[in-house]
């Protein structure tokens, strides 16, 4: 096992998930009912034997801090390891100065304190499974200065528009890091995941900070593509980047299919989360639930189809929930028909009986709203 620590980064200022992000950072979004998005990068690190993890937080920290807790539920030894929230207080949310580099510089003392050889940087807003220890191994064996993880996709024209792409040579050397402009179908989407030596990391952020207060990690890498040996490693398996509302909806919906979910979840790669100690879900005599993912603590009397049902939801008699994502503690009243919607926490849908959006542009119902 390699000596390494982990860094989990918030989304940069170009990313905004309508609605949901008003209330919490993307890492804290409910995912597939049971999880939060950040469970994936943390579980990946924990399973890879990385027990010192810095989680950078920019705003709306309450739910995330609560979810991270002591880190014990991620199987991290609380004496030897640490799941440490770090804050960016110096920059505002939409500042041009709000970059990953600025966050590192602000917390440089905490980075310099560590003595691990390698650092693994992973985003809090992407969902995938990856053994970072074997990624470090690949990195170390290759002799590269920096290794970047990417996923080859064939739908880059309409998806991943908030992501960077890697332009690679035949030897997987990175020629440039570029924004996805949606101009081509096939792209190597950069998974915002980096492996390098700790020393180089500190050197890079110091350099980037000197060059420009607006520089991000991907900017400085793009500058250094010629100077350094930067390589791409391809990721296989399920991959989702949650960088806008549609990608959040689609990522959840894709995993409603049990077969697809087997590309993400496996016995020997547990995805940990924080338990809420909810009791099992009760299906009443009138319940009709098909092709859905259901969390614990629900009371279901109505019809549910092709949906993700969060913890503690109540679906009354005669209600119809179709192609929806219900977050925690949502109430769907008697006879209410809701379709193609993301319903945020504690919303109560009782009065209006028909709430249907177009499948291509799913709707969003605000946290705590009564409709």
């Amino acid at each position: 096992m390699y000596s390494s620590f982990g860094i989990i980064t918030p989304a940069n200022r170009h990313v905004w998930v309508e609605g949901l992000q008003d209330y919490r950072p993307i890492g804290s979004f409910s995912f597939l009912g049971r999880y939060r998005v950040i469970d994936f990068p943390i579980s990946n690190m924990s399973n890879s034997g990385i027990d010192r993890i810095q989680v950078y937080i920019r705003r709306k920290a309450v739910s995330l801090i609560d979810h991270l807790g002591s880190g014990r539920h991620y199987n991290i030894n609380s004496k030897r390891g640490k799941l440490q929230p770090l804050f960016s207080e110096n920059t505002g949310e939409h500042d041009i100065y709000n970059t990953d580099i600025a966050a590192y510089i602000e917390n440089m003392e905490e980075i310099e304190k560590l003595t691990h050889t390698y650092v693994v940087i992973a985003p809090s807003y992407m969902v995938y499974a990856m053994d970072y220890d074997s990624l470090i191994h690949t990195h170390a064996e290759s002799g590269a200065d920096i290794t970047l993880l990417y996923h080859s996709v064939d739908n880059a024209r309409e998806s991943f528009l908030n992501c960077n792409t890697l332009n690679l040579n035949k030897q997987k050397g990175v020629l440039s890091v570029e924004k996805n402009q949606g101009t081509a179908k096939n792209r190597n989407i950069f998974m915002d995941t980096y492996v390098m030596k700790r020393e180089l990391f500190i050197e890079l952020i110091t350099k980037a900070n000197k060059l420009s207060s607006m520089y991000t990690m991907s900017d400085i890498l793009n500058d250094l593509c010629c100077e350094l040996d930067i390589r791409g490693v391809a990721h296989r398996g399920f991959f989702a980047s949650i960088t806008d509302f549609k990608s959040y909806y689609d990522a959840n919906m894709a995993l409603e299919d049990i077969k697809m979910s087997q590309n993400l979840f496996s016995e020997d790669w547990p995805i940990y989360t924080k338990t809420n100690d909810s009791c099992p879900t009760r299906y009443f005599e009138t319940a009709e639930v098909t092709s859905s993912v259901v969390s614990n603590g629900c009371m279901i009397k109505g019809k549910v189809e092709n949906s993700i049902i969060g913890r503690g939801c109540v679906i009354k008699e005669g209600a119809v929930v179709k192609n929806c994502i219900l977050l925690t503690d949502v109430l769907i009243g008697e006879g209410v028909h809701v379709e193609n919607q993301v319903v945020d926490r504690r919303a109560k849908l009782t009065q209006v009986k028909e709430i249907v959006a177009d499948p291509e542009t799913p709707g969003y119902i605000k946290r705590g709203d009564t409709i």
Binding site: R34, I258, D277, C279, T281, R282, Y283, V289, S291, N296
Partner: protein
């Protein structure tokens, strides 16, 4: 201990032999219940919710799973600084050889040093195999208000069943005048729940005397309580109202599970003010497939259903294949019901596989069928 100065001791040594194969490798308090729980989660969660910090669990027979299970006090939040769940099996001492516990009272007697280390004012004695929610802090408050030497929780049982219980005869203020173990002609319907609060100093004295008594069964019900009454001590009854079940047999374990899907279910596991805590198992959420039909059921995380489930309770990671039917049944953790199989009026033990198109149990059986071994299906 700081808050209420009361320590809890859970008697969890029962063999549970009427649960047959379910308790071959698992002590009764560790038997699974209610989809995601084990029976001992109930007294332990009650302790946590009642502000009790230190719990001793007295184990005996084949308790490796039970010992490991309760040792992880974090499951009930019982792992704060001065808090803990301590497993107390019989042990060798300087002045005594290694020996089994001779009775419920002896189990405490052999651990007087453990209790003394915390020097509690009160000791709460509980049973590890009852399903109920009770606020022991309220019981303690009543114990103090009555200035009692001991307080015993009682529950009203139907008169005709009273002779199966230990019956307390009390005066109007609830003071216990008489205790009869399984009386032929019960004088009241107040049954002891086996839940006692004692002042530790008094109990300690009684236990030391009891240990030396060659005629004693070293049992709370048979020896300690009668002796306290004989000594004219003030014993108070604490009336409990609500769900309470001792699941001694396969039929009653099945029934207790089925209670969770009836509409007048007093237990209410969905009450956020009194949660029952349990092991945090890593699983997927529930997956219901395109062919699923789940009605009148209690289903927990990790389950995958693509068949028909009717009036049944599905435990962690149970799986029901396409075209399979599960009716009036309990599927314990990890059970797999393969395609086309039918399970009816059965309780299927942990990790048992019911093969393709196999048929288990029947709609008109008198007793619930316990399925503890793999049932081969059509190959």
């Amino acid at each position: 201990m700081k808050q209420n100065n009361m320590l809890a001791m859970i008697l969890a040594g029962g063999r549970g032999s009427r649960l047959h194969d379910l308790t071959n490798k698992v002590a009764k308090p560790a038997v699974s219940y209610g989809g995601k729980y084990r029976i001992i989660d109930f007294p332990l969660s009650n302790c946590a919710n009642s502000g009790i910090d230190v719990v001793g669990v007295l184990t005996q027979y084949e308790s490796i799973l039970l010992n490991s299970y309760v040792a992880a006090g974090r499951r009930w939040g019982l792992d704060a600084k001065d808090s803990g769940v301590y497993v107390l099996p019989p042990r060798e001492k300087a002045d005594a050889n290694l020996n089994v516990y001779r009775g419920t009272a002896d189990a405490i007697s052999q651990n007087i040093d453990f209790v003394d280390a915390y020097a509690p004012e009160h000791v709460l004695i509980l049973s590890g195999d009852h399903i109920y929610k009770m606020n022991y802090a309220e019981m303690l408050a009543e114990h103090k208000a009555h200035n009692a030497d001991a307080t015993i929780a009682v529950i009203e049982v139907p008169k005709k069943e009273a002779s199966r219980f230990g019956i307390m005869n009390t005066d109007e203020e609830g003071r216990i005048l008489e205790f009869e173990e399984k009386p032929e002609k019960p004088k009241s319907n107040l049954a002891s729940m086996g839940i006692y609060i004692f002042d530790w100093k008094l109990l300690r004295k009684m236990l030391v005397a009891d240990m030396k008594d060659p005629d004693s069964n070293h049992d709370f019900g048979k020896d300690i309580i009668p002796q306290l009454l004989a000594d004219d001590r003030k014993l108070q009854a604490y009336k409990f109202k609500g769900y309470w079940k001792d699941v001694g047999t396969i039929d009653s374990l099945w029934e207790a599970n089925m209670d969770l899907i009836t509409d007048n279910n007093d237990l209410n596991l969905n009450d956020p003010s009194w949660k029952i805590y349990t092991e945090d198992v890593t699983t997927l959420p529930q997956y219901l497939g395109p062919n699923a039909s789940v009605k009148g059921a209690f289903v927990t995380q990790g389950c995958m259903v693509d068949g028909e489930v009717n009036h049944s309770v599905l435990f962690t990671s149970a799986k029901v294949g396409v075209g399979a039917k599960v009716i009036d049944s309990v599927l314990m953790p990890g059970v797999v019901v393969e395609e086309g199989a039918v399970v009816q009026r059965a309780l299927v033990a942990d990790n048992v596989k019911i093969g393709k198109d196999a048929v288990v149990g029947s709609a008109d059986s008198e007793n619930i069928e316990l399925v503890a071994k793999r049932v081969k299906g059509v190959e």
